[in-house]
Symmetry: C2
Subunit: 437 residues, 2 copies
């Protein structure tokens, strides 16, 4: 985080259009409505790419978009757009020759037993923002769109960011069509079953945006602990994920003296302690997590022959990720030698850090100051579609607080005041890009 100490400043009201009746927008009611699609009996929401709940939610959103004066349209991948065309345009296709549209939105899919804000907030706020702007200011000078991205979480297929990856052309259907979900259903069966895929008369997935703006819950506790209302995302962290395997020798827990052991689990424990020490030495925003561990044979009275654990490291700078991984690897090798263990490290994910567009960050900051909404520049420790869009178009993220930082959980919650603050900033930003010169 940076600029913890920037306090909100009063705006200069003379050149600033006031926003009428913003308090009447029913964000919370529409989030509650959307959460009925895929509602779990035990609370929470499960909407997985192309499943029934997902389909019903996207089609219900398309109807909402039409009801609110937007032109709804699906693309090949099942991404749903609601378009508010610029002056003189009347149809989705008519503004092809105009400057690329400004797009806001987020993802409609959820994790298993997720909350009702993750993703959904950015879509609902986008639809209501376009409705509000249209109602009060008429058609924009530049086309505005809200997108309900088909997939971000990677909850169904072992692949994430399908929505933004297919829009930016980073990934094609050919590359993912053979992926299987946990029931053995292929990606291509799933997309066809939901009524999408090529040759359906839909818009192609690949599109060019003038800018992408994603309003999202923080999913952490940084804003709450610093009592700020808006997070202006500076960077989306880079991530590396590893599977670490430590191989020793199974032995009888009673008959094998300590010094003769090749105890894979004892060695793994020492490595996990080293990971935390290196993370603390590196300092914020570096984080390192071991969330999964297993020992084999995994019996209380047998010295473990093998231990495997996960490692997830994140930072906003690539060179710090590189250095910390090298430090950890060195510690692992030293411990493996000390314990007489064999070490295997497999990297299975590597995402480079993505700085968000600086100009849009400045505009968000200016809006916060004028609207007297407290804010914080902060990195996003979680991955988002915005990191996929940023290389293709100017992209920014606006965070609102998550109560107690809880997310991916039915207890996910953001107060109506915080939801409205985020909405206000989004409306202002879309007004600026859509209606000002």
């Amino acid at each position: 985080m940076t600029e913890f100490d920037v306090q909100p400043q009063p705006g200069s009201p003379e050149d600033y259009v006031p926003l009428p009746e913003l308090e009447l927008v029913e964000l919370q009611a529409m989030l509650d409505w959307l959460s009925t699609y895929g509602a779990d009996p035990q609370g929470g929401v499960t909407r997985l790419l192309y499943d029934n709940a997902w389909s019903e939610a996207q089609h219900a959103l398309a109807k909402q978009m039409a009801d609110k004066g937007l032109v709804p349209a699906f693309d090949h991948s099942g991404n749903l757009y609601g378009t508010l065309s610029s002056e003189g345009s009347t149809s989705f296709d008519a503004d092809r020759e105009a400057p690329y549209p400004i797009v806001t939105g987020s993802h409609i899919d959820s994790v298993v037993h997720g909350g009702k804000y993750d993703g959904a907030y950015g879509i609902v706020a986008g639809i209501l923002a376009l409705e509000y702007l249209h109602k009060h200011f008429g058609r924009p000078k530049r086309t505005l769109k809200v997108v309900s991205l088909c997939e971000e979480e990677g909850s169904r297929f072992p692949f994430a960011y399908w929505g933004s990856r297919s829009i930016t052309g980073v990934t094609t259907l050919e590359e993912v069509q053979h992926l299987l979900d946990q029931q053995g259903v292929s990606f291509s069966q799933a997309i066809l079953g939901a009524g999408f895929g090529p040759d359906r008369g839909l818009e192609p997935a690949v599109q060019t945006y003038g800018a992408f703006i994603e309003l999202h819950i923080e999913q952490g506790q940084v804003l709450e602990r610093h009592s700020r209302s808006i997070g202006i995302v500076s960077d989306i962290v880079g991530q590396r994920r590893y599977n670490i395997t430590v191989i020793g020798e199974a032995n009888h827990a009673g008959t094998t003296p300590m010094l003769w052991r090749k105890d894979a689990l004892a060695g793994a424990a020492d490595m996990i302690v080293a990971i935390r020490r290196i993370a603390l030495q590196t300092g914020e925003p570096f984080v390192a997590t071991v969330g999964r561990i297993a020992a084999e044979p995994g019996v209380g009275n047998v010295v473990a022959a093998k231990a495997t654990f996960s490692l997830d490291i994140r930072h906003v700078r690539q060179e710090i990720l590189d250095r910390c991984w090298q430090d950890m690897l060195q510690a692992f090798r030293r411990i493996a030698a000390e314990y007489q263990l064999r070490l295997e490290c497999e990297e299975h994910l590597s995402v480079t850090p993505t700085p968000m567009n600086e100009k849009i960050q400045q505009d968000i900051q200016e809006i916060c100051e004028r609207e007297q909404i407290s804010y914080l520049h902060m990195p996003s420790g979680a991955g988002h579609d915005s990191q996929i869009f940023q290389p293709a178009c100017p992209t920014a993220m606006i965070f609102v607080p998550s109560q107690q930082g809880i997310s991916h959980n039915p207890r996910e919650f953001t107060t109506e005041t915080d939801l409205m603050n985020g909405f206000r900033v989004l409306v202002r930003l879309l007004y600026k890009y859509g209606y000002e010169d």
Copy 2:
């Protein structure tokens, strides 16, 4: 271990009866034969209490006993005796008024996919020893018995040492009859199905022994690494087993700074490092093992809310077990406080250390010296039926080397030379107690 440096000394042959033709005894052949009962297709042996392989093995052994001149008899529990009655006695019952018999033997059950030596060696060697003594020296002055104990491993029901516990009266059938195996079969169904239990006209299980001598493979590498042929067991270690639960808070691996975490798995890792440090500081024969660990939710990108791990500590002195556990508990509490975790410790096994009978140990040492067999006084780090018998009668254990210390594994192996050395010591000891005054 003690007395590493005692070298074998030549015996004084003048008052020492030589053992004729000992090299003709076919220990290995009989072990191979016995291992056909419950032989696994992939190698190894699985004989679980009262199952078919177990029943066939016990009845085949009863026939072998009869063929070799012993009187076979089962008791209520399915323990099988082969009796060589003292002079003047002709039947199993005839020596009831005589001094209590000297008993040797071990257990017939195995672990799942066990080896062919564990337990079996003590039974086979006992039968062949009694046959040999009978053949060369006639009836003993004091009744000798070999026992094939029905159960020691706890592999089928969640209860171990049923054979020795039922003989010493420590546990009755009433106490275990409701236990269930993994298929849901009750202990009482199993014992009745195998043809045992009360009211079958069998001997009662509770019996009084004059002494119990158990010949067994070491199941460790101490003898092999010290190049000794015989282990004279000084003590069977005491054991404590615990389930340690560490409770923190699940958090997002990306959005939760290191210092705000309550990472149960990181705390558990630090505790496991502390366990090893305390074990190494305490020194041999103290051993501490963490063989099992699990984290919840157990996902690579979620800070663990909960970690559970096993702890197994062993030593020959109760006060050292007490002190080490207190040291570990203190370390756990310090770490839990540092990581902001809640700690729960559950002891689920506590076995006090059992010193073996000193007089019999001396007699074994004397035999080794006279027979010029190298030996070592050493504790047993594994549990054995002998620890159940010791409080009831003078008890001793004789170990032979296990190649590479491998046990509870189809690769369990002891050389014929080592098997014969153990047999020679057993024969000498039984001769001394059965035939000398």
